[in-house]
Amino acid sequence: MRRVVITGIGVVSAIGNDSRSFWRSLTEGRSGIGAISRANSADLRFKNAAEVCDFNAAEHFTDKELMWLDPFSHYGIVAAREAIADAGIEFPEGERDRMGVITGSCLGGKETEDRLFFDLYGEKKTRFPPIVIPAAMGNAVASHVSMEYGITGPTFTTSTACSSANHAIGMAMWMIRQGALDAAVTGGSEAPLSYGSLKAWESMRVVSTDTCRPFSRDRSGLVLGEGGAMLVIEEMERARQRGARIYAEIAGFGMSADAHHLTMPLADGAARAMKSALCDACISSDEIGYINAHGTATQANDVMESNAIRTVFGDLADEIFVSSTKSMHGHALGAAGALEAVATVLGLYNNILPPTANFNEDDPECAINVIKNDALPSSPKAALSNSFAFGGLNAVLAFRRFEG
């Protein structure tokens, strides 16, 4: 069977605008959550988010490009460029049809739409620039990356709320394994901090007025984040032949649907996705040493996810280290799985597991082995990264340490 490895990583996030600074923040347990500046938060019940800082789109794009790009595309494209440069991969004539770009996004270009709707309904403007449709479309990142690099193989976007990036990465991996692709740029990006979108989240009553404390007894809800993360993944022999640095193997993918409720997650669905990822990867449960949890810090998710981990791993769950890096980069929705895949892969590669920041107190209802506040030197053979979406759509990636 063809195997698939990760050879390039790129990140734009609240805790660093490249993969190196993202990783440094993760190992320092540094949270990027702070006061919202992107929108007016005066009449919002929550005031904090994990915003991308010191990111000047004009340094990355021409004036003409900027006109056509929503912030979710800025993050996705800049992350893809870093991942491609990091991998040292080229897209030569003759091979381009076997290379693809598969991205995830929950909202697409909502900031662009938000501005249009304000002008339309608020300002009563009647004419609009022709950029809105292509800037707001969910597949904008996949399209721009394919055009920039001349990548002409299977290229598309998945949108499954908070699981979007995991579904994208999982599909890309399967397509390489199955033979439709030899290499892919894959991940996700999101820019959900427009005023309209923040007001919509406010009414869901799941956003913390404080900070994000996954699995901590005093957790108070999720904190929205933004950014993008991309991986270059390749068929293993191809990567070896060109002498690429290999971060880890992406070994399995599992997905499931709860078929239960729009917003209340079901442990059974999450557990089935984890089991399916293990089975797909041919990894036994005692090989898993780390789980990057979905860990949103809502009451419902964290209890459900802890129960699901217990269901899958039984007593082994006492030993498996678990963290939610959302405590640092926030919940970046359709980019979450990609940021967390990077955290997991760099953990395996560097033999350090990132912590759950902002953790105060054990919760007896979350009976799992949480890495609290400080990064942990550890060298697990394999790891999982969980994503569970509103609507009950679950996607779990399995990674294996690469031994050469």
Binding site: R45, S203, M204, R205, T209, G221, H261, L262, T263, M264
Partner: protein, 86 residues
């Protein structure tokens, strides 16, 4: 309907939401008896906010488990609002 009491207005909001007659909603009726799940509860609180033009804080939503809880909660919030305005 200016002479409606707060309780009658809350019951009307519940009845409209549930698409039943107001006589089918009693003060003692719980959300569970009405077959409400968490998402229905959120929607109902939104309808109450609209009816009474106020903001129900997140932690107050958790406390509302019956029609009576909702009436008490709305009365307290209205009192706090008129106090703040005075």
């Amino acid at each position: 309907m200016p002479d409606e009491t707060i309780a009658e207005r809350v019951i009307r909001v519940f009845a409209d939401f549930k698409k039943v007659g107001a006589d089918e909603i009693k003060l003692e009726t719980t959300f569970e008896e009405l077959g409400f799940d968490s998402l229905d509860g959120l929607n109902l609180v939104f309808e109450l906010e609209e009816e009474f033009d106020l903001v129900v804080p997140d932690d107050k939503v958790q406390e509302m488990k019956s029609v009576k809880d909702a009436v008490n909660g709305i009365e307290a919030l209205l009192a706090a609002k008129s106090e703040a305005a005075a």
